[in-house]
Amino acid sequence: MSKTIQTLNWSIQPPHLYPPYVSSIKRAPNHALVPLAHTLSELTGPVYGHSSLQELDNDLTRNAIRNGEPLGERIIVSGRVLDERNQPVPNALLEVWQANAAGRYIHLRDQHPAPLDPNFTGAGRVLTDKTGAYSFTTIKPGAYPWSNHHNAWRPAHIHFSVFGRNFLERMVTQMFFPNDPLLVFDPIYNGIPDAAARERLISHFDMELTQPQWALAYRFDIVLAGSLSTPFEQDGDDDEH
């Protein structure tokens, strides 16, 4: 069961060491990664299904309400999870997290002097359907300052953690918004070596997906690495475990 094709394309993926992102300097390994032939342990992974989710997991504007609605611009984020063969990835679990409209996370280590929103935790989950499609409702996150360099600001973004069909397809990324003037200054975004790959992390405003009198909408598709280096045909088994 050895493989010849690398899963991760290093002309697309960011390196571990990217000195403009200062935290990488003491945390990136110095040795080169060691190639590893795939075994059953890489070609398997946790399987998720609808029993993994709760009713409001895909609505961040409602899953943390205490005394009212969260503040900010309501948005719908939709897209598809695909593999590199352009095939949909059904039953992918997406975990999303983000700052609130003011650019503040609910986290002890977030010291940004912007207000917390008592009705917004900024965390949600959603599963893709048979066509690989997902959708969740949230509040457009704000930009926020960080300490990487003088006057550093993160462009507004939503974090995505994705479980695909196996361990190879596991990935974590961030979705950005169109025309954000902070992107050119962001060492996390610019750690991606390929300009087209960077641009694919920017969502598209989509008028078709907006809901009149309710919410604006953005489209963001995700392509999981792994299918080109997988010797097995995936059998689309829907069993939940």
Partner: protein
């Protein structure tokens, strides 16, 4: 026609709300088959400072060496009381722990797959945890002898039960081996 894979980005420091759930570092219940082990360790940066904002995900076979996944031809016989997957964040001392079982391997030495995310890593890292009692394996043996030890969890005294320590060093003389899978 093939399409291009999405680029990775860091988990950042603020993932706890979304990714860390109570109990996800305990893979067993009272009915799980297999020998219980505590797996614990500390994650260190290149200056020997502990890393309090890492997240570790493990994936392993059950006590019969079966992976609970349709790609494993034996998955219908997988232990229904074993989750195979675990996730833990490091605490303020850089420490993590899992309560799981010693995996059994059908064809190779038992090991646990580990995926590591943290602030400062634009893309995850992958490694494997082997066990001091079973130190021979083709993957281990293919590594430089001076680095092989970094993948072998060591037995540790613990009145609460069989315990293995697996520390992770991002850099330096003890740097952990990471794989390009």
């Amino acid at each position: 026609m093939n399409i291009k894979q999405t680029a990775s980005q860091t988990v950042g420091p603020f993932f706890h709300n979304a990714l860390i759930r109570d109990g996800e570092n305990n893979l067993v219940n009272q009915h799980t088959r297999g020998e219980r082990i505590w797996l614990r360790g500390t994650v260190f940066d290149g200056e020997g400072q502990v890393i309090p904002d890492a997240i570790l995900e493990i994936w392993q076979a059950d006590a019969s060496g079966i992976y609970k996944h349709p790609t494993d031809p034996k998955h219908n016989q997988a232990d229904p009381h074993f989750t195979s997957f675990g996730r833990a964040g490091t605490d303020k001392n850089g420490a993590y722990w899992f309560y799981t079982i010693l995996p059994s391997a059908r064809t190779t030495t038992p090991y646990i797959n580990l995926r590591l995310f943290m602030r400062g890593l634009l893309i995850h890292l992958v490694t494997r945890i082997y066990f001091a009692d079973h130190p021979s394996d083709p993957v281990l043996n293919s590594l430089e002898p001076s680095r092989k030890f970094s993948l072998i969890a060591t037995r540790e005294d613990n009145p609460d039960g069989l315990t293995y320590r697996f520390d992770i060093h991002m850099q330096g003389e003890l740097e952990t081996v990471f794989f390009d899978v």
